[in-house]
């Protein structure tokens, strides 16, 4: 069966695209899928360090797209998670090293080898964005509950619609305490403004910083709320679109469960 190319994008930088790509990719692989995560941020690569694979780069996505190597040669195998591969960005080229046509061709090759291909899109709406979305079948937009991130997400959603892609939304770094006190946009507010479907809500989680420090996969940490949220997003992408959304509450899962039992929380 042919794989699916999903672009992870946001418009604004620093909202968690790379963490989302690494985590969803790892979670999809843990469910038994063959997964390639592709760093499309040519010249500013980072997905490799987030995944702890920075020491093993030989070929990169530009080499693969230009036919200087086989797709399989550019794909670095993750040693901790079976079936997870990284195709890193080139650090010496710039965004013009690729073009949409070459990415469409590369995507075709990737679909033949993998079940899921996640494109980690660079920030911005220029050439890098064009390249990252060129071969995509689906899109996931990441935004944080901030005015600037939501505005940029709106712009990106418009550009994706123009390419006949209907994206799904991840709201990242929700701080439940601030939502409760009225100092942070709630997920309902963000959905109301952007009017697109959610695919996941991710709570602000300090473990993301720790996991990025060490390059260890966040989703393997059962105590990380963000990690577990990304696992549920992966399940929704992987044939369970109706898995109910869990709304971050700021409490531990234990208290959540008790609350659910007593009918205090949904």
């Amino acid at each position: 069966m042919e794989g699916k190319v999903i672009v992870i994008t946001s418009g604004k930088g620093g909202v968690g695209k790379t963490t989302a790509t690494a985590s969803i990719g790892a979670a999809l692989a843990l469910e038994g899928n063959r997964v390639a995560v592709v760093d499309m941020d040519i010249g500013l690569r980072n997905l490799d360090v987030v995944m702890g694979l920075e020491n093993r780069i030989v070929f990169n996505v530009v080499d693969a797209a230009k036919g200087k190597c086989q797709v399989k040669q550019a794909a670095i195998k993750d040693r901790r998670i079976d079936n997870l591969y990284l195709i890193p960005a080139s650090q010496s080229d710039n965004k013009n090293a690729l073009n949409p046509e070459s990415m469409v061709k590369l995507s075709e090759k990737l679909r033949a080898e993998f079940d899921f291909i996640l494109m980690d899109c660079p920030a911005g709406i220029e050439q890098g964005f064009e390249n990252a979305v060129a071969g995509a079948d689906e899109a996931v937009v990441v935004c944080t509950p901030e005015v600037s991130a939501v505005r940029d997400a709106d712009r990106i959603i418009g550009l994706l619609y123009a390419r006949s892609i209907t994206p799904k939304l991840i709201i990242n770094r929700i701080v439940p305490r601030m939502v409760d006190s009225g100092d942070m946009l709630s997920h309902e507010d963000v959905v109301d403004v952007l009017s697109i479907d959610l695919i996941g809500l991710v709570e602000m989680d300090e473990q993301v910083v720790a996991s990025t420090n060490t390059g260890l996969p966040l989703v393997k940490d059962g105590s990380s709320k963000a990690g577990q949220a990304f696992r549920r997003i992966a399940q929704r992408l992987n044939g369970q679109p109706d898995l109910p959304l869990e709304i971050p509450t700021g409490q531990t899962r234990f208290w959540n469960k008790i609350g659910q039992k007593l009918g205090l929380r949904k």
Partner: protein, 92 residues
């Protein structure tokens, strides 16, 4: 929670409500932003159509998008020199 409750009790607008309102405005404004080339092309087309019926002063016309509150309007301002007696024939 206590903070939000008190704010609601005293009818004070929370910062997220301000954020949401500003966002909605910003998005409407963003969508109405038209590039200069589009405006110039539009102006040329309007001039061509109006010139079929009126003689207008092409140097002192003005095309603008005006916004007030949540309304926006396309305003085209031109002095009419005279009406054309006979309707322009399509030359092509």
């Amino acid at each position: 929670m206590g903070n939000g409750f008190l704010q609601r009790l005293f009818g004070k607008e929370s910062s997220k409500d301000v954020a949401k309102r500003r966002l909605k405005f910003a998005l409407v404004y963003d969508q109405l932003e038209v590039s200069n080339t589009t405006l110039t092309n539009l102006q040329q087309d309007i001039v061509d159509v109006i010139s079929k019926y009126f003689e207008i002063d092409k140097t002192s016309l003005k095309l603008d998008i005006q916004r007030s509150g949540d309304m926006s309007a396309l305003v085209f301002n031109t002095p009419i020199l005279s009406a054309r007696r006979t309707r322009y024939r399509n030359q092509h």
